[in-house]
């Protein structure tokens, strides 16, 4: 049940209002009339009683019942008088009663003068006296037919005037009600259509109605105008924003491509002279142009180390740029995981032996062949392993552990008992060019590119990498990779 309509409520309100007013007016009129009729009846009866009391004084005085009765009988002309009588010396001296009427019980305790209304009659009492001598008491008893007549007239007026008037009031009340509810209903349906069709260009037609309704329509139209304006503004802003985003994006893409090109080109350009430097340095170190003294050998070794480090750095950088530019294509091949790991260990043996670090390998026997980019896999492991060796003190331990990890995946963990990583640094660990405390970098060397590149390569294989570390007790880097790249579990 929906809440009732304005029209309905207005109708009820007006019916209630006019009905109440009519009822109040009718009742007021009724009571006023009753009061009038009553007091006029009383006045008339009192006048009659006064007259008869005066006229009958002598008859009572001289004990002439017959004469008194004749005087009382003059009341015959008053149809409302039921009875009248004179009491003297404690008995009824003379009595008149209307034909076929009953004389109702009388109570003369009201004394010689006064009146008494009952629901059936009115009795007026008057003293009969002469020269100050009280001779007797007159009573005139009247019926209340006039009051009954008033009630009947009221009923008739109510029936023939008040009820039709109420009906007319209801009919008239429909008119303003329509003038109020119609525009509101129109407005409601317009609001509904605006809401559903999002057409903010429509306007509610101005109406000739109550001031509040007109105000409502005006406000509604203003609101529509405001919504329309904002709607257009938003659309324009949206379009501008999209354009700007597109512009910025393409700008960025251009810039990024330029950067990549620059870096790729630069790396290549850098490698060429560097290869020359390293090549000639090796040539010198081999002692082919001539014998070198110890000092010269030592310096030449430094040149070679620096050159190789620089080459390594440039390679990493080139790789990272390629990976991030999506230019690396994986050359997937099937190979033995154990072999791959062994090959990497062999690559770092010199460093490990020079720092007397034991590298333990533990490969789950169930793990056998994997299908990955063999070179990239080795690069990942090499980076992790060389990091582990780098940050492990002489005589420490480094472990490689490979195990099944969920369906179709394995986990490669490289752990050390080196210096570890502070927990607040772990978040920055895989970001390019970020190195943990410059002091550490200086002490252990490092490009700041290794882990970023590693992460990119792992991601390229559809794997994940994370690290667990306790500062001062060592770190464990864990790489999860699929057995077959491109087949995710």
């Amino acid at each position: 049940m929906p809440s009732r309509s304005i029209g309905h409520q207005l109708r009820w309100l007006s019916v209630l209002g006019s009905g109440t007013a009519l009822l109040a007016a009718s009742l007021a009129l009724l009571f006023f009339q009753l009061h009038e009729v009553r007091s006029s009846l009383l006045r008339r009866c009192e006048t009659m009683a006064d007259l008869i009391a005066f006229n009958s004084a002598a008859a009572v005085d001289f004990g002439d019942t017959e004469a008194a009765t004749i005087i009382l009988r003059s009341l015959k002309t008053r149809p409302e008088v039921i009875s009248a009588g004179i009491a003297a010396n404690g008995r009824i001296f003379a009595l008149y009663r209307r034909e076929q009427s009953t004389v109702r019980p009388l109570n003369l305790r009201h004394g010689p003068s006064g009146y008494s209304f009952t629901d059936q009659d009115l009795t007026v009492f008057r003293p009969i006296s002469s020269e100050g001598r009280l001779l007797g008491t007159l009573f005139v008893q009247s019926d209340l037919s006039e009051i009954e007549e008033t009630w009947r007239r009221f009923a008739a007026v109510t029936g023939f005037v008040a009820i039709p008037a109420l009906l007319i009031a209801i009919l008239i009340s429909q008119l303003p009600q329509r003038a109020i509810s119609r525009p509101i209903l129109d407005l409601a349906s317009l609001a509904a259509s605006v809401s559903s069709e999002k057409d903010y260009s429509v306007r509610a037609p101005t109406v000739n109605s109550a001031a509040e309704i007109e105000q409502l329509v005006d406000t509604f139209n203003q609101m529509l105008f405001e919504i329309q304006r904002q709607h257009v503004e938003i659309q324009e802003a949206h379009a501008t924003l999209e354009q700007r985003v597109a512009d910025r994006t393409s700008e960025l893409q251009r810039a990024n491509r330029a950067k990549d090109r620059f870096l790729a080109g630069m790396s290549h350009e850098l490698r060429t002279p560097l290869n020359g430097i390293i090549g000639f340095a090796e040539f010198l170190a081999d002692g082919k142009p001539g014998p070198l003294n110890d000092k010269q050998k030592e310096y030449l070794g430094d040149i070679l180390n620096s050159g190789r480090h620089l080459l390594h750095l440039i390679n990493d950088l080139l790789d990272l740029v390629k990976v991030q530019a999506g230019k690396v294509e994986l050359r997937v091949e099937r190979f033995s995981l154990r072999e791959g790991i062994d090959e990497v260990r062999a690559g770092v043996r010199t460093i490990a032996e020079s720092k007397r670090i034991e590298v333990r390998i533990d490969v789950n026997p169930e793990l056998d062949f994997v299908t990955l980019d063999r070179q990239r896999f080795k690069q990942i492991l090499f980076n992790l392993l060389s990091n582990a060796l780098k940050f492990t003190e002489e005589g420490g331990h480094v472990g490689i552990n490979a195990a099944l990890h969920g369906k179709g995946r394995f986990r490669l963990a490289v752990s050390d008992d080196g210096i570890g990583i502070r927990s607040e640094d772990i978040g920055r660990l895989f970001t390019e060019f970020e190195q943990l405390e410059s002091g550490t970098a200086r002490r252990f060397g490092g490009t700041g590119l290794g882990l970023a590149l590693t992460r990119s390569l792992v991601a390229l294989h559809g794997g994940t990498i994370d690290v667990e570390s306790e500062f001062g007790s060592g770190s464990t880097f864990r790489v999860t990779l699929p057995f077959v790249t491109g087949e995710h579990a």
């Binding site: 002598a58 009663r97 009953t102 004389v103 059936q120 009280l134 007797g136 037919s145």
Partner: protein, 187 residues
């Protein structure tokens, strides 16, 4: 149209209230009633304004001839007043004294002297009351009559009252049989 109740029509409950009047006529001696009438007549007759004296002058009720009232009239008027005047009962010994009266009761013993009495009054404002046959027709003003059922009625000779300059109230006239000297009229 009347609402009716099946009650018997005479259901008149008369509570006792004070009416300071003598008791009913039936058991009362005739002259006691007549004495009361004479006194009451005074209240329904107006004397001409010129002759009305001040309140200190007594209101004189004279009796001429044989007094039939005994102590009744005297007892009756004791302490009563007419127009504020003390009532004085006077037995006339001489005819001239009649002019001093306001009311003159002419005893039936004076029936033979009526002409002289009326002549002596000569149109003076004296209310003449009698209780003899044809008193009013003979020129008296009010004649008291005892009916067969022992009720007291009265005849009034209105002309005689008018001639004396007195004024009888219409109420009184209503109760009386009006007569005059020339013919005997009925009510």
């Amino acid at each position: 149209m009347h609402r009716r109740r099946a009650w018997p029509w005479v259901l008149v409950i008369v509570a006792v209230f004070c009416v300071s009047q003598g008791r009913g006529n039936a058991a009362i001696p005739e002259y006691q009633v007549k004495a009361a009438f004479i006194y009451k007549f005074a209240t329904y007759i107006r004397w001409p304004a010129t002759t009305v004296p001040d309140a200190t002058t007594p209101f004189v009720i004279g009796i001429i001839g044989k007094d039939p009232f005994g102590p009744a009239l005297r007892d009756l008027v004791r302490g009563e007043r007419v127009q504020g005047r003390v009532i004085l009962i006077m037995r006339l010994s001489r005819l001239e004294e009649a002019l001093r009266c306001d009311v003159l009761f002419i005893s039936s013993s004076e029936r033979g002297n009526l002409r002289q009495i009326f002549a002596a009054l000569g149109g003076a404002p004296v209310l003449t009351v009698g209780d003899m046959d044809q008193f009013a027709e003979l020129g008296g003003m009010i004649n008291l009559i005892t009916t067969e059922d022992h009720q007291i009625r009265f005849d009034i000779n209105k002309n005689a009252i008018d001639r004396a300059g007195l004024k009888a109230s219409s109420q009184l006239l209503h109760l009386a049989r009006i007569v005059d000297e020339s013919r005997s009229g009925g009510r």
